[in-house]
């Protein structure tokens, strides 16, 4: 009798699995459990696929494109206000695209990891704050590590603030599509 998976392992895998499929995935992994190594191997291959599938189901490419454009314009406007030289520098426009790109990835992940069910009115604001906030953290880390493509702090703060407002409004107008056919519910 192989027993049951260690609680710590289950907790880690549960944390990494999107809530919408957590119960089913943890149940399947529990049923297949033979040893801790086999459990880790199963989870290693299953969890990224589950996250990918969840993103494919919840992300709307049109909305993500709108988010990306809005964030890019927000960072450009902030750069125009605080450091106009950056706009005309070599690779300046590409540097402004990096935080927008990171924020869009974060927003897609936030949708995938959102709890299923009817979204609250505050959810778009919270997701936008989380997504753009983590982008700010990433930019600060790049800056601390001395990467040349990191943006100045004021541009990140101002662009990020405009971005949170805009992305929240887009999120309220176009909530994620979590109601795909589930047939025999």
């Amino acid at each position: 009798m192989p027993g049951r998976p260690p609680r710590a392992l289950e907790a880690i895998v549960g944390f990494l699995t999107p809530p919408a499929c957590r119960e089913v995935v943890l149940g399947d992994l529990h049923e297949r459990y033979r040893s801790p190594m086999q459990y880790i191997s199963d989870a290693w291959y299953a969890v990224p696929c589950v996250v990918y599938s969840r993103i494919r189901r919840t992300a709307d490419p049109g909305v993500l494109l709108m988010d990306a454009l809005l964030l890019y314009v927000a960072f450009m406007a902030a750069a125009r206000q605080f450091d106009r030289e950056l706009l005309y520098s070599r690779l300046g426009l590409m540097r402004l695209a990096i935080p927008a790109g990171i924020a869009v990835v974060m927003l897609a992940l936030a949708d995938a990891y959102a709890r299923p069910g009817r979204p609250t009115a505050l959810r778009p604001l919270m997701q936008a704050t989380l997504g753009v906030g983590l982008t700010g953290v990433a930019q600060t880390a790049f800056s601390a590590a001395g990467f040349s493509f990191a943006l100045p702090l004021w541009i990140v703060l101002a662009g990020g603030s405009f971005g949170v407002v805009g992305v929240s409004i887009i999120g309220m107008l176009f909530p994620p599509d979590d109601h795909r056919p589930r047939g025999a519910g």
Partner: protein
């Protein structure tokens, strides 16, 4: 009748697994059956999850949650069944496979087909 989407080889395997498992088609059993059908190729549980979601989005299968069971640590299963469009898609892919088979046998001959059955056809009708 609704026209079924064309399906890929891995989707055929998953649909066949669901068809043969009847009411017991859920992640673990579908993965085991697909692994059995795929032969030597290793199949990951994650690939099965992605395909099940995609087939459900296409409307070829539907799913429901069962009651929690102790062997799963008190968690529910998501069971799957074929919808009419899924059955139609599987029929079409089986018909295509049959046409491919007939064409090969016409060129390579019945002797090759007998040898093929001996080597690869174990467990098939």
């Amino acid at each position: 009748m609704t026209k079924a989407d064309s399906i890929g080889q891995f989707e055929q395997l998953v649909l066949t697994a669901i068809l043969t498992l009847y009411e017991e088609a859920y992640g673990v059993t579908i993965h085991a059956k697909v692994q059995d059908l795929a032969g030597a190729k290793a199949v990951s549980l994650g690939a099965v999850y992605v395909t099940l979601d995609r087939l459900e989005d296409k409307g070829l299968i539907s799913s429901w949650l069962t009651d929690p069971t102790p062997e799963r640590g008190g968690r529910a299963k998501r069971c799957y069944r074929l919808e009419a469009v899924g059955e139609r898609a599987l029929e079409e892919s089986a018909a295509t496979a049959k046409r491919v088979w007939d064409s090969i046998v016409r060129v390579w001959g019945k002797e090759w087909a007998r040898r093929w059955r001996k080597e690869w056809g174990k467990g098939t009708a």
